[in-house]
């Protein structure tokens, strides 16, 4: 059996908007990946623990509440603390342009804003999964 790409899609913090994350989960599923969706209002600790137990290749964080500058870096640093820094972290949602370089500096590999073609997001996770499987 070939290695499957596994992705955790998560909504950190107090944000009830999950339309986007569901669209992406569906697109990754249709591209042949196994997507674990953990639902709304997750703490960074919940997300990192789930990522470790599910042994995912990558995490997609969706945030539309404006708290991304706290929550995204927290997930990255907790992963490192748990010796799981090899798990790729991607972010998405309503993220101001000027925050993107800071998030990348904090270890978020990529940030997808509104209007990003699904193809581009799928390609990113395929590449991340392939790189990790090697």
């Amino acid at each position: 059996m070939a290695k499957k790409i596994r992705v955790l899609m998560a909504k950190p913090g107090l944000d009830g908007h999950d339309r986007g994350v569901k669209v992406i989960a569906r697109a990754l599923r249709d591209a042949g990946m196994e997507v674990i969706y953990t639902g709304l209002r997750q703490t960074p600790e919940d997300i990192v623990e789930a990522a470790i137990q599910e042994d995912v290749d990558a995490i997609g964080l969706s945030c539309l509440s404006g708290a991304h500058m706290v929550l995204f870096p927290e997930v990255v640093s907790l992963l490192k603390k748990r010796k799981a820094g090899d798990i790729v972290v991607a972010g998405g949602g309503i993220i101001p342009e000027e925050d993107i370089p800071k998030l990348k500096k904090a270890g978020v590999r990529v940030v997808f804003g509104p209007g990003t073609p699904l193809k581009e997001i799928v390609a990113f996770f395929e590449k991340a999964g392939a790189a990790k499987g090697a």
């Binding site: 059996m1 070939a2 290695k3 499957k4 596994r6 989960a25 569906r26 990754l28 599923r29 249709d30 591209a31 042949g32 990946m33 196994e34 997507v35 674990i36 969706y37 953990t38 639902g39 997750q42 703490t43 600790e45 919940d46 623990e49 789930a50 470790i52 137990q53 599910e54 042994d55 748990r82 010796k83 799981a84």
Partner: protein, 333 residues
Amino acid sequence: MPSRAPAASKAVRGLVDELLAGDKRAAAKLISLIEDDEPEASAALALIYPHTGRAHYVGFTGAPGVGKSSLIDRLVREFRARGRKVGVVAVDPTSPYSGGAVLGDRIRMADTGIDPGVFIRSMATRGHAGGLALATFDAVRVLDAMGMDLVLVETVGAGQSEVEIASRAHTTVVVEMPLTGDAVQTMKAGILEIGDIYVVNKSDLADTSTLVANLRFQIEERDGWRPPIVSTSALKDGRVDELADAITKHRAFLDSSGMWERRELQRARQEILENARRLLATRVRAGPEGSGFELLTQAVIARRLDPQSAAVRLLRSEASSPRSAPRRPRSSP
């Protein structure tokens, strides 16, 4: 040891040592290794197997949406409050078209997984029918070896004929909910015959007494155990403690009645046969072109030979041609 599994690499031995010490990351890595059927999967399983056999395996089945995940979440908390360590393997379907899957059982188990005494793993069926994935009970064994007292297995919830779980779990819990049909639904063969415990969930939403009465009318004592019927509300925390009591009581019954050993015996036999069947099929298919299999296939198409006689010949030639050791014994679901 008579095992012909290949020797494990240092990396896999290290992972197994960490697993036995209770490390979650090692457990997760080993489950992936087995699930992806990587070259070292058999070696890993062979190392893990001697450390299994202690945990109580409890299967949950029932139609989609009856509340299996929510019920498991509440049960995990209940057993944790009783000081037990609990593993969960939750299976969801793989798309037959894309090969992908959305695994959503964890949504109902929100922050339960963060408890050090809990490990939850989602699993896609990857084309296996019957409500489980091929690697489901391999994952269960990883969690058993890790030191979990109970391992709860959630099937995909396909519906009426998903009975495979009953042959693999020690205790099978069938979950139903009210308003799902008339009394004849409870008379149908299959899923309603396999339960050691029956649950009527969502008691907060509708009256459960009709369904409970219908079930009570149908359910009979088997091998000295009369399956109890528990009405619960997973969302309102209603009577989940009674369900935990019923599960504990069934374990005690299995131990005291000798049924635990009987089930072990049945399971071991079944697993050996299923592995033998799978390995044989793999070897036959992997044979070179122009091999016996290919020639026999042509003879069957030309109506010179019937399929059953072809199979008899194939088995005879298989037995007389020793080949290298098979790569992959596994615990079938």
